[in-house]
Amino acid sequence: MRILTGYMPPSSGAASIAGFDVVSQSLEARRQVGYLPETVPLYTDMTVFGYLKFMADLRHLPEAESAVEEALEKVGLLERASGYIGNLSKGMRQRVGLAQALLHKPQVLILDEPTIGLDPAQISEVRNVIREVGREHTVLLSTHILSEAQQLCDRILIINRGKIIVEDTPANLQNSLSGGQRMEVKVRSQAQSLLPVLEKISGLKNLSLNQGNSLQFSYEAGADPRPEVARAIIHANADLLEMRSINLSLEEIFLQLTGEEPSQAQAE
């Protein structure tokens, strides 16, 4: 991210943003980008307006003041424009930082963990702003909160130790990685005796017995053995309590992909 924003030169390889190389056309590339670093860079001894006006001037915006007002309106901070940044809460500062990144209506907006350290109300505020902004600009967002990525993003890249290990939409990621669909079946008793019955049904994979008389299996997205499974269970005279499909959460996908041990958290 810091390479894309022109803060650091790449140690190897090349990067370009909106068609401009970040090294040889650094200034041009930087003009296309709005950037909110992880630690929001603010001058606490300036007013919100003064700070944004300064940044607008640095970017040579023709109508700096109206650009500042527009950006403030987008993040909903217009009424705090004359207040000192030092007096703002963390969520508000985050929004000032976001306003700074939006000032010049960049083609690409790069946000480094924009919701970190905020309380839940502030997080949803900032997410709303990002969603709003994402309609007009390309937003590149880094986050450790995977549910956030799931909610906000159209495309997800997972990077582990500097390598991209996967790139897809959130929905596709879930499908392809759970190896098709997963199901859980609960019966009243003697789940074990059902194992040989279910093994005979074609298309079932990874059949396993869990605690509390529940069985788990997965199947290819094309074939749908669910009715057969239900019938087989009824035939075996077992009391079918529950049948439900399980979606792998992004957390699990992440752990699978990065090859780390999954935590106790079970699939929900």
Partner: protein
């Protein structure tokens, strides 16, 4: 150029909301004024009368030395604080050249220092009224030009050193040490060595001022020397910022 001005403007106005800057300005003017009054007083009370009439040197002489002590405090914040607060990342990702950033910081500090120097102008005016037939105007212009060039050089070096650190106090002391070396120590071989010490005199910040400008001589070598130091400081600062990017 426009970015340079934007940065200088912000820096300049920031000094006026900083208690430290007011303290520096006040102390500077107070000490220059105090020395001015004491000098005049001792001359007036001396049994030999005025002897040679006092000239602008009783103002500019102490000023030059005071600049050595105060400019590190003026420049210490410039880039070191940006690095500490993380706002350097903001400026380095904005479409601004590194040299514009450093030079803009220097210009802001320079304009602030010029403001302080402008206030001291009241002392030569008072002096002009006291002595008949007034003080040597050309000497005054040369001495003030010297002070201004000296300030530019100090601030240039200061901003350069400030861009190498992210701690204001460290910046202050390193800057002060560099100034002391350039003010007293660099020229010392000229007086100590029997032969071959002469070139060191040209590297000495104080002799360029006290031996020429302060005596009413505008020397080309002095102008070139101070301007080169300013440029060197800004260049080193830009280099330090560039190195920061690679780390």
């Amino acid at each position: 150029m426009r970015n340079l001005w934007t940065i200088a403007k912000r820096e300049f106005s920031l000094y006026f909301s900083s208690p430290l800057a007011y303290t520096i300005g006040f102390l500077f003017l107070f000490i220059v004024g105090l020395l001015f009054v004491l000098n005049l007083g001792s001359l007036a009370l001396s049994p030999f009368g005025f002897g040679a009439a006092p000239d602008v040197r009783i103002v500019t002489g102490p000023m030059a030395f005071l600049l050595l002590l105060t400019t590190p405090a003026i420049t210490m914040r410039l880039l070191a604080d940006e690095a500490r607060m993380g706002t350097l990342e903001l400026l380095l990702t904005a479409p601004v050249r590194d040299v514009e950033l450093v030079a803009g910081k220097w210009l802001g500090a320079f304009l602030f220092t010029l403001t302080i120097i402008a206030f001291t102008f009241i002392f030569p005016i008072i002096l002009n009224g006291l002595v008949k037939p007034g003080i040597d105007q050309l000497q005054m212009i040369a001495a003030y030009l010297g002070v201004i060039l000296l300030a530019a050089a100090f601030l240039g070096l200061g901003v350069g050193i400030s861009s190498m650190f992210s701690n204001q106090i460290a910046t202050f002391f390193v800057t002060l040490v560099v100034f002391i070396v350039l003010w007293w120590l660099v020229g010392a071989p000229a007086n100590l060595l029997p032969v071959g010490g002469e070139p060191f005199r040209y590297l000495d910040m104080s002799s360029h001022f006290y031996d020429s400008f302060n005596n009413g001589i505008i020397s080309l070598s002095g102008v070139v020397y101070y301007l080169s130091l300013t440029a060197l400081g800004i260049f080193l600062g830009t280099l330090a910022i560039e190195i920061r990017r690679w780390r």
